[in-house]
């Protein structure tokens, strides 16, 4: 849009050139006066509008009209003949784009890369201990664990031949992580492009498009990409919906491992999706398969909610398979922190309004969501809430006193877990087991 407006005055001022140009360039400045001639009473001085004391009466009901109505947008310039683009297109090999690992969202990331950016996706294998070792070795000790995980993922992605690494914007320190990781990786001698959305946060959509064009694919199709972007959002919602079902029921499966297998099959199905219809069908098949599995669920199961920091709460590698451990104990799990709830349907005002008794200001990226969901779980009669954060995550540390107050007010126990880059889960097992025992005993006694 800015280009068109810039170009406009030029042909209008030197109106000598070919009649076609003159004709198309004409309307904007003149149309207002032309219209005014037909309808004198509607003449508008753009400097005087409704609020203007001198001309309130005359201008009531007046509108500033740009363009000449009726005939739709006019052209400022004749369309240029299309250039031969094949030659330019061929100059670029398809770029190989990698994301960091983040729970099961790699499926959506893959779709985004292939169908929005129109590039190749570098699929990373399951993370191993080496991943976090690599990440920790090259990052500051004091930085939070997600940084280390992501850096490890990037190194492995570069080893697999990625050209472009993608980093999100984040409202906490995560916003700076992309640049920091980029310079660490460059210092290590890797050559790559960094598609860091933090650099364009808050800027118009055109900036997003131009950064994608610059870093990944100069031929990104905007209408196509925009449409598929909606499919990505749809996919994320689908994934979260299926996973929510899994979390709520997998603890009561009759055949051990059946839910895990069904979920894996569903993920594999979803990974193959190439359009919106595929997504919808994969979703239907996956949910049908999950719902068909036999469960033996008690009338009043132990229900536990998981809240916490964006990365650690959702990513099983970061939280040492917290969910699976809890499911193995026979717990109905609910996790409020999903990309759907945090990114797509996030409404800070509503969340904060629901916790107005506890919080006045926005405390950080996931704080309102954490506190609001913990409170909601308590009000819905959950047996307990697990609060998950990476060690030293300031916004979530700030949430702890509020959560403690909620715990005191509602009588719901909360378990606070802090993660760093450790790989031993003995301490975690002890705490979870004790937490579960406590909830189960309490439930049994009060029944």
């Amino acid at each position: 849009m800015p280009q068109t407006t810039d170009r406009m005055p030029e042909p209008a001022s030197n109106r000598t050139p070919s009649p076609a140009t003159a004709h198309t360039a004409e309307p904007e400045p003149i149309s207002a006066s032309g219209r005014a001639a037909e309808h004198p009473r509607e003449r508008v001085d753009p400097l005087r509008t409704v609020g203007d004391a001198r001309s309130t009466d005359e201008v009531r009901g007046a509108r500033v009209v740009l363009g000449d109505g009726g005939r739709g947008p006019f052209k400022l310039l004749p369309s240029r003949p299309r250039r031969e683009r094949s030659a330019k297109r061929d100059r670029h090999a398809r770029t190989r784009v990698a994301f960091f690992r983040y729970s099961y969202y790699d499926i959506a990331f893959k779709f985004f890369v292939e169908h929005v950016l129109d590039a190749d996706f570098v699929a990373l294998p399951k993370p191993t201990r080496r991943t976090i070792e690599l990440g920790s070795r090259h990052s500051s000790d004091m930085v939070c664990a997600p940084f280390k995980h992501i850096l490890g993922d990037y190194i492995e992605a570069l080893e697999l031949g990625a050209d472009v690494l993608v980093q999100f914007a984040g409202p906490c320190r995560l916003g700076y992580y992309g640049e920091l990781q980029e310079s660490i990786l460059r210092d290590m001698g890797y050559e790559f492009e960094m598609l860091n959305f933090a650099t364009v946060t808050g800027k118009p959509l055109t900036e997003y498009i131009s950064i994608c064009k610059k870093k990944v694919n100069p031929n990104v199709s905007v209408p196509h990409g925009a449409r598929n972007m909606l499919a990505v959002f749809k996919m994320i919602e689908c994934l979260d919906e299926a996973n929510d079902f899994y979390l709520a029921n997998a603890g009561f499966e009759v055949e051990p491992g059946s839910f895990e297998r069904a979920r894996e099959a569903y993920f594999a199905d979803m990974r193959e999706a190439t359009c919106e219809r595929d997504i919808a069908e994969a979703q239907r098949r996956g949910l049908d398969a999950l719902r068909a599995l036999p469960v033996r669920k008690p009338a009043q199961p132990v229900r536990v909610g998981i809240v916490g920091e964006y990365f650690t709460a959702a990513d099983p590698t970061s939280n040492l398979d917290l969910e699976r451990k809890l499911l193995a104990m026979g717990v109905e799990l609910h996790r409020s922190l999903t990309m759907t709830n945090r990114n797509l349907r996030h409404n800070e005002r509503n969340l904060r309004a629901s916790i107005a008794d506890y919080v006045t200001y926005n405390m950080g990226p996931t704080s309102s969501l954490t506190i609001a969901s913990a409170l909601r779980y308590a009000q819905e009669g959950f047996d307990g809430v697990v609060h998950v954060k990476s060690s030293g995550c300031t916004p979530e540390v700030d949430c702890v006193p509020v959560l403690q107050r909620i715990g005191r007010d509602t009588g719901m126990p909360l378990l606070y877990l802090s993660y760093d880059s450790q790989t031993s889960d003995t301490g975690l097992d002890t705490r979870l087991e004790a937490f579960y025992d406590m909830l189960a005993m309490k439930k049994e006694k009060t029944r």
């Binding site: 398979d321 126990p413 009060t446």
Partner: protein, 396 residues
């Protein structure tokens, strides 16, 4: 993989013809594709020096002599709490009274500590008159020792402490517990634990800190309490963090504070550190029970009383409460499952060879370290695998 690993001990046996002890001691010969870099086999030394006196052939039928007249014997239950610093054990009878108790240092060797605890407990009771129906283990080495003694119940120490304490003090509202590496607080309402917290990242203000500082001051940690109580004016020692506390302490020593004042200050630092970290955000309501090894330190008890402004109860068996709690859980489990397993023998731990071996799983790139526990060369349990690929089939 599964077959290979479980089969290996047999191969070794056939191939090298070495006896069980040697096999356990030497990290398995060349054949292993897995690099078992440490085969701690912690138990051998002691076994050799005192070769199981009673039943020399280490055969399975446990207590063959004692099994037949078991009808007259009194049922009892064994609870073992293997902590990082100390190992505790109790035997309780059907009336849930403690009839034997022991407390000794783990010395970094949980398997051996469990063995010593069981031997010690065995010597305190008339073995012909009792019949151990079930065993429970708790503490950080609960799984290892649970596998060794074939425990019915393997429970975390938080639950065990809560169960034990609420049994002895049904009206308790707050349980403070400071052990060697861990400290926890458990809030109780109407006899059920409703909330708990455990120290998270560091071991500041635990028994380990106190004993290292005792060493620095040249005092036995057992004397700490009495010395602290003689102080009139405890020194002010930073409580936030062990590192700060330690440098503060060194400074105060050099400046010339009296030793008892410093020790009293340390005890107070432990109490305030605990309340600021573990007890943060928890409502501490009387009656308060204080237990764990550090509860034997009168100075810390006094500091808690001063800080909380309420009485702090210390049970004579407070340090055994984890073992007692898990023994209670064993009673419950035994009554639930019915009297079936009459297998525990006090000499079993001494007469069998126990070895652990660390195996690095090669099934995927994660290379999980799997701990395998062998009894007489037979694998009885394993853990440490993150997925089913690393599951080891046990033969027991």
């Amino acid at each position: 993989m599964t077959e290979q690993r479980t089969a290996r001990p047999d191969n070794d046996l056939g191939g090298n013809g070495i006896d069980a002890q040697d096999r356990c001691e030497s990290p398995s010969p060349s054949t292993s594709a897995t690099n078992s870099k440490t085969a701690p086999a912690p138990d051998q030394a002691r076994i050799k020096e005192g070769p199981a006196p009673q039943d020399t052939p280490p055969k399975r039928p446990v207590s063959s002599s004692a099994s037949s007249p078991s009808t007259r014997k009194a049922d009892c239950y064994l609870g073992i709490d293997i902590g990082s610093i100390s190992t505790k054990g109790v035997i309780i009878d059907a009336g849930r009274n403690i009839i034997a108790r022991t407390y000794l240092w783990t010395e970094g060797n949980p398997a051996d500590a469990a063995r010593r605890v069981v031997t010690d407990l065995g010597s305190q009771v008339d073995r012909d008159a009792v019949h151990v129906r079930a065993v429970g283990t708790t503490g950080s080495a609960r799984r290892l020792v649970g596998a060794m003694c074939g425990a019915t119940v393997v429970k975390n120490e938080i639950t065990a402490h809560a169960v034990g304490t609420t049994f002895l003090h049904p009206d308790v509202r707050t349980i403070l517990e400071i052990g060697g590496q861990d400290s926890k607080i458990i809030c109780v309402e109407n006899g059920i634990a409703v909330d708990y917290a455990m120290n998270t990242l560091c071991a500041a203000g635990t028994g380990a800190f106190l004993s290292s500082q005792a060493h620095r001051l040249g005092v036995e940690v057992e004397e700490f309490g009495e010395i602290a109580l003689t102080s009139k004016k405890p020194a002010n020692i930073a409580a936030r963090c062990t590192v700060f506390a330690e440098s503060d302490l060194v400074h105060k020593i050099q400046v010339g504070y009296a030793r008892e004042d410093i020790i009293a200050g340390l005890c107070r630092a432990v109490a305030t550190n605990y309340l600021n970290n573990v007890g943060k955000g928890k409502q501490i309501v009387a009656p308060v029970v204080f237990q764990g090894g550090v509860s034997k330190n009168a100075g810390v008890v006094q500091a808690f009383r001063d800080e909380l402004g309420m009485d702090v109860l210390v049970d004579a068996d407070g340090h055994l409460m984890g073992a007692f709690g898990v023994a209670l859980l064993a009673v419950e489990a035994a009554s639930r499952e019915g009297a079936g397993q009459a297998t525990f023998n006090f000499d079993a731990l001494r007469s069998f060879e126990f070895a652990t071996r660390e195996v690095e799983c090669q099934k995927c790139a994660n290379h999980c370290e799997i701990i395998c526990v062998y009894r007489d060369g037979t694998i009885i349990d394993s853990w440490g695998n993150r997925c089913e690929k690393g599951a080891v089939r046990t033969e027991a």
